[in-house]
Each structure stands twice: as C-alpha cells, then as structure tokens.
Symmetry: C2
Subunit: 462 residues, 2 copies
C-alpha cells in the first residue's frame, strides 16, 4: 500500500505527539503512588476517548489501580490487533544522578529525558500517533485495535489485569498482540523479542531485637539482624553463582537449537556492557565467551540482591546493633520455572538452614514467556519493519527482563510480538531514562504498517 500520506502525517505531527508524551510523563505514576496512578489512568482513558475509542476503566478489589481498555472497530477487515501497555513507572532514585528532574520531561535535540518516557509511556504515545495518522488520512482504522493499559506492571503483579482476563476474556480476543515495548539494538538494527524471563521478587526481613542497642554493649551476646540477614543470603547463593535452594533448577528447560542459532546472530550486543564494569571486575564466573555470556544472560535464571537496609547508613561511625535488617531479593526465571513454586522452595530452604527468623514476603511474580520464533504473526511484524528500518527485524529468542506477557501468550493463547521505540541507551529503571525522537517516529510508522498488514493476515490453522 502507499504509506506516504501516513508517513507525512506522522512527520508533521511529531512535535505535537512529543508534547503529549511530556504531558503524560509529567504525572509521577511511580508504582507505589496510588493517587498519581489514578490520575494517570484518567489521562490515558481521556486520550482514547478523544480518538473515538470505546473505553472501559476496569477496577477490581484484588488490585489497586484500574486497567484502561479501549477499542475502535476497523472498517477494512475483521482482524483484531491487541496492544498492551502500562502506565506505572519505576521510582526515580537516585535522584541526584538525573541531569534534569525525572518528572519534568525535557527535550534536548533528538532526545527526550524523563522517568517513564521509554518504559513505557513513549511506546503508547508513538502508537497513538499511528492511530491519529490513520484517522486523519483515511478517517478509519483498517483493523480493529484494542488497547489494554494497566498500572500494576512495575511494582506489583498485574492483579487487576488478571482479574479482568478472568472476568471478561472476550475483551482480550485478538488475532495477534503487540507487546509493551520493542525497538532497535546496536547499530539501530530492529529487534523482534520472542521470550521474556519470569520473575519472583521477595523482601526478606529479620527482626532480632525490639529496639536498637549500643553495639559496644550488646555486640558480643545479643543477636544482630544484619548478620542474620547476611548469613541467610549467603545460604541462598554462593560466589560461584550457584543457587542452593533445593529444587530451584528442576523446571529449567535448556534453549533449543533454533534458540541458540538465533542467539548467535547477535553476540555483538554484549560488548556494550564491558564498559560498565569497574576496574578489576569481570563478567560473572570470569566468563568471556560471547555465546556463553548471552546464554547466561537470558536462558539462565538469576538471583539478585536488589536492595539492602540495616542500621546506620550516614557518614561516619555510629555504634549501633541493628534490631532489624531487610533485603530485596529477586529471581529471574526461565521456562518453565514457576514463581509460586520458587517462593515455596525459598521459604522451605531458609527454614531448613536454620533461618526461620527471616521473614519472607512475596512481593510479586510473573511466569516466563516464550513464543514460537517462526509463527506467522511474528513474521508479519518482522517483515513490515523492512520498509521503515531498511531491513526486517532480527529475531531475539529470549530477553532478560520480565512482564505479564505470559498471560497473553500462554493463558489467552495469543501470538505476541514486539514493536516499539527503545534503543540500548534508553536507561530504563535508571537515572536519565530517555528516548530518541527519530525512533519514536519510526515506531509510529511501523505501527501504521502493522495496522494495514493485519487486513491481509491469515492465522495458522489449528
């Protein structure tokens, strides 16, 4: 089809779309700020209504923030495309490392900086720009487009989304689903992500004493919450990176030959990480072989301390025996490890090792997800990229992060693919998160083409 008018619209309305993104990213929808999250949901619902979508704002007692569901019927085909996004963001700390304030989205040349501009607010606005182009140029969308935008992706467990799927499965029926993110890798090569690891996230807390005690008085005979925590953590993983929770590796399925073939096409992506290492540090286990490292990064589970808190953390030397200590502990899971199973095994392990005084709180879990790399819907998205990026997308069999994609792929049975605006310098979850505006434009152009390609899409039989 002739996409020149669509592309022209997108180019001419780019500044306007970026201004909308700034509006959206100005709301500090950090995952624990319930008030800001509700205001953000209102903003999103209004953005859909303005574009003629039918909107459902779905709440459920099991969650804290609503899912914004929106649909606009297509006129050229019965095909349905489902698009998933989320409106919650990660906390902005450490605040002092931001060059401009995280919730004052700031444009500098080809970049827009701000918390959430890449993960995941920019993706949604870029997709809405594709919608706007179709509506302006053709007065309609070519296929039916359904958006699902939730607010419990970053720090919670998508409870409301899960409840909505159970209660209204019909709202999630589609011929294919576009995932929250997507974008280019090194050298601006567009990437198609076909799998995500799962996650099980915990807070461990030790309460040893009813209050802090002078360390000179109690240090030799009273229990120390920080030591108990350190020893408990040490029992979970040793410096050889082996996780010692019995049964932890039971459900790990190694990658297929096809997975490793796809992985081996993109080994240069790891080089960017070498410059992050402080002097004297190496990749884990001293590994240097790129394929092995890449395989570790995405096809092996991880066990990460993401936070430690105990006692005195200011300058100088406070002599205190900490009554309490806390750790945040995250596991990334590979097919087909299950978050609830890992949680049960962790609790049993700590009990068995004599750390029954370590309280375990399960803060959230998501299953791993894996798509057939050669599904026709995947190939539709891969091929439509060619016209925008000058080449088809490169298939990435698995990535390290997690998301609720499992529910779409394995629970709803929807073929799912990625398309978006991210690039390796996006700094998601870190200070100075940013997007490239040229990629924001490309993402909109790609999405406009996917809408059209859906009209010619034939689902596989069976």
């Amino acid at each position: 089809m002739d996409t020149r008018a669509l592309d022209a619209y997108i180019r001419d309305h780019l500044d306007e779309a970026i201004a909308q993104l700034q509006d959206y990213a100005r709301i500090p929808s950090v995952f624990h700020d319930v008030d800001a999250l509700h205001r953000t949901a209102d903003w999103v619902a209004e953005a859909f209504r303005r574009r003629g979508f039918d909107v459902v704002v779905y709440s459920h007692p099991s969650g804290i923030t609503p899912v914004v569901w929106a649909e606009r019927q297509g006129r050229r085909s019965d095909r349905v495309l489902l698009i998933y996004n989320h409106y919650d963001v990660q906390p902005p700390d450490p605040l002092d490392e931001w060059e401009t304030p995280p919730f004052e989205p700031t444009r500098r040349g080809n970049f827009l900086y701000g918390r959430g501009v890449s993960d995941d607010k920019g993706h949604l606005i870029s997709r809405l720009l594709a919608v706007d182009a179709w509506l302006a140029v053709h007065g309609e969308l070519p296929c039916t487009v359904r958006f699902v935008v939730e607010g419990e992706e970053e720090g919670r467990k998508s409870e409301t989304l899960q409840a909505m799927m159970d209660e209204h499965p019909e709202r999630f029926q589609a011929d294919g689903c576009i995932w929250e993110f997507g974008g280019v890798g090194k050298d601006d090569v567009p990437l198609q992500h076909l799998g995500m690891r799962g996650i099980a996230y915990f807070e461990l807390e030790v309460k040893a004493l009813k209050r802090d005690v002078h360390s000179g008085i109690g240090g030799s005979f009273l229990p120390n919450a920080a030591w108990r925590l350190v020893w408990a953590l040490n029992s979970i993983k040793t410096p050889d990176e082996r996780v010692h929770i019995p049964g932890f590796y039971d459900d790990v399925q190694p990658p297929t030959e096809r997975d490793l073939e796809l992985l081996s096409q993109m080994l240069d992506r790891l080089q960017d990480f070498e410059e992050l290492l402080e002097p004297g540090q190496t990749f884990l286990k001293g590994e240097t072989d790129p394929l092995t490292l890449y395989r570790m990064a995405v096809f092996e589970p991880s066990c990460t301390i993401t936070g430690l808190t105990a006692g005195y953390q200011g300058p100088g030397a406070k002599t205190v025996l900490p009554a309490r200590a806390r750790a945040k502990l995250e596991f990334r899971l590979v097919p087909w490890q299950k978050p609830e199973d890992i949680a049960a095994k962790l609790v049993r392990h700590l009990q068995a090792q004599g750390f029954g005084d370590v309280q375990v709180r399960f803060l959230g879990g998501l299953h791993p997800m894996k798509m057939d790399p050669d599904h026709p819907f995947v190939d539709l998205v891969v091929e439509t990229a060619r016209d925008v990026y000058g080449r088809p997308m490169v298939k990435v069999p698995m990535v390290g992060p997690s998301g609720p994609a499992y529910m779409f792929v394995h629970k709803l049975g929807l073929p799912t693919a990625t398309a978006g605006i991210a690039y390796p310098g996006s700094r998601i979850h870190a200070p100075n998160e940013n997007i490239r505006i040229d990629l924001f434009e490309k993402g909109a152009r790609h999405m406009a083409r996917i809408f059209h390609a859906m009209t010619e899409y034939t689902p596989p039989v069976g």
Copy 2:
C-alpha cells in the same frame, strides 16, 4: 567532713542545673556537624570561664574540633583531679521513634529526654553543679580540678586530644582521673567501671559497576555489588560467631581470677536484656549461663555489622542491579588487641579470600583499657560513694563500650575511675535517650565528696 551545706546547695540549684543541661543539649552537636560542634565548644568554654576557670581552647590540624581544657586551682591541697568529658553526640536517627524531638530536651517528671543528655552532656553539667556548690559554700575548690572536654569521641578518633597530649603533656598531669561516665546498675547499685573494650570501626564498599543496571538485563552475567559485600562479610564471621580473620584472636588475654570474681557479683544485670529479644531469638550461641554470657559480653571481642546500604530500600519491588554496596563493620577489642593491627589483618584477609574489590576504610580505632581493680585512687572513688548511695560502689572489671580512656590510663599513666549519673534505662545511642534527675543530683553530691577526698589522698609508691 560535714557535707550538709554542699548537699543543700546542690538540691536547691537542681532545677537551674537541669535548665543549663537543656541549653547545652539543645545544640545538635552530632559528630559530623562541624559547625554545631564548634558552637558547642564555645558554650563549654564559656561555662568554665563563668566559674573562674582558666580556659584553653586547643585546636590541631589533625582533628576537626577543639579540645576545651579548663583548670581551677585548689586551695586546701596540691592534689590534682582530672575530669574527662566530650561534647559530641551520636546521630539521633531513627527520628520517628523519639517521643519528643531529640534536640528539644524535655523534662517529664524525674526524667529528662534528649540526644546527649546521658552520653555525655549530663555528666559534665552534674560535675559543674558540684563545682558550683564548693564555690558557693566554701568560696574555693579543695583540690585543683582540671577538665578536658573534647568533641571527637563519638564518630572520630580523638585526634585533637591526642595531639594536645603529645604537645602539652603537662596539662594532663594529675593524681587521678574521673572518666566521662559512671552511674548505677540494676536496683540503683553504684558501679565502678575498671576496663573498657577497644574498637576498630570500618566502612566496606564495593563498586562493581559504573552505574545501576536493570536487574532483568544484567542480573545473570554482571557483577552485583550487594552480593560481593554479603559474601565478603560472610567470610569474616560465620553463624557460630567465630571471626575468621587470621590472627584476630592472637593478642586476646583472658580475664584474671580477680576479674571473674568481680564479674560473678553482678550477673543479674544481664536479665534486662532478655526482654529485648524478639520471639524466637536467643542470646548468641544459644548461651544461657549468666557468667558465660557476661564474660562473652565484655571479655570477648565482637564483630558487628552496624549498617548495610545497597540498591533500592523503599516500598515495593524495584528491579535494579546495585552498582555499589556499603557496610559499616565494627570490632570491639579486648586487652591487648590493637586497632591498627586488626585493620591490617582485615585488609589482608579480604585480599586472601578473593575480595580485593572490597574497599576498606578505617573510620576510627581506640585501644582497650584496663585498670588495676584495687588501686587506691579507685578505692577513694568507690568509698566516697557510700555516703551518697548508701553503699560503696561495686567494681565492674570490664564493660563493653569503648572510649579514649586508654590514652589516660596507659599512655599518661593516670589512675582512672568512673563516677556519674547513668542508669540501665539511659538508652544512649538510641531513641529516647534520657537521664534520671535524682541520679543527676546524686552524681553531683558524689563528685563534691571526691573533690574533698583528694585532699586526703596518698598516691601509691612506685
């Protein structure tokens, strides 16, 4: 001697003295607040000048705050009593556990609450009340009294005090020295403290990455500063409470028979700590024998994690691979372990265990101190207590905390004893630090008697 007039003066001027202490404790002289520390030094110097003392405010480039030295000649004897105090205090956090603000000293009945009222500002003001009583009743002090009040006791290494001792040893000459603290134990029994453990305090820091990374991306192949720190700490001490630094126990001298005899007189003091244990917690090593526990508490070295910091510490689940992690690590030393020696051994141990990436900063050290429990100056202080407390002081051969007493006892060769206003509920270094006003009065009365007893004191020969 007839002490009725001195006691009456002290009783009649008690409220005035408490008001002075409130003034003094209102200055937030936390050890890292150099500006507040200098204002506090000015306050102290003025308190001495007002009482006719000669004052020297001594500064030295090796430290950050001055020593306030003050002397007033006695008229009845040539004996010289040296009194040591400090004007710096511990940080007040956790702030939200204070019932009244830490730097708004608040009187409630027989108690005064505020940071530093017990450690160590109340002791100084109580001693000044004894000085005031002598000056008001007799127009003079019976012996020469020298005060040394420093501002580098809590978070630093008494650098300025050490420099002053080296440069002006004559200012520290005395027949005996009264230490910063003292007071009663359980059931208001007055205690004479004869030894203090030493201390070596460190900050350990791991820098693994140049910046935080998304834990889903880097967790399986990039180094994690928090894990490195946990494993390094675990290599230092194991759950059996054994310190694994080679040579750590080399210089430990066990207590004498006389030490253990003295210790066995006061085993009931430990019972107060049982109520601090959270359900399921025990004293270390599950020990229950009181003499063994008391011996552990004061005659064994300790290794205490006093603080842990890494990554995300807020609510919920932030998915971050921490670039950096820090621990505060404190060792309490028993005779005759040496802080510098422990520092060198700690660094060598971490290197040898493969933790060369753990940076060790030595934040402060103090040697252990131990007095001959039967020295005549000690007995002078012990016996003068009888008239105030209804019984002589009970001799405590060693306590858990540390102080620069080593310099006075072992460097200057001064017999040193304790006398003061503390009690087991003082909560020093913790929220709701407080003094009992009846004990503040008793401390002043005891000190007034010590001044007089010095006129009849005969130092031992040799």
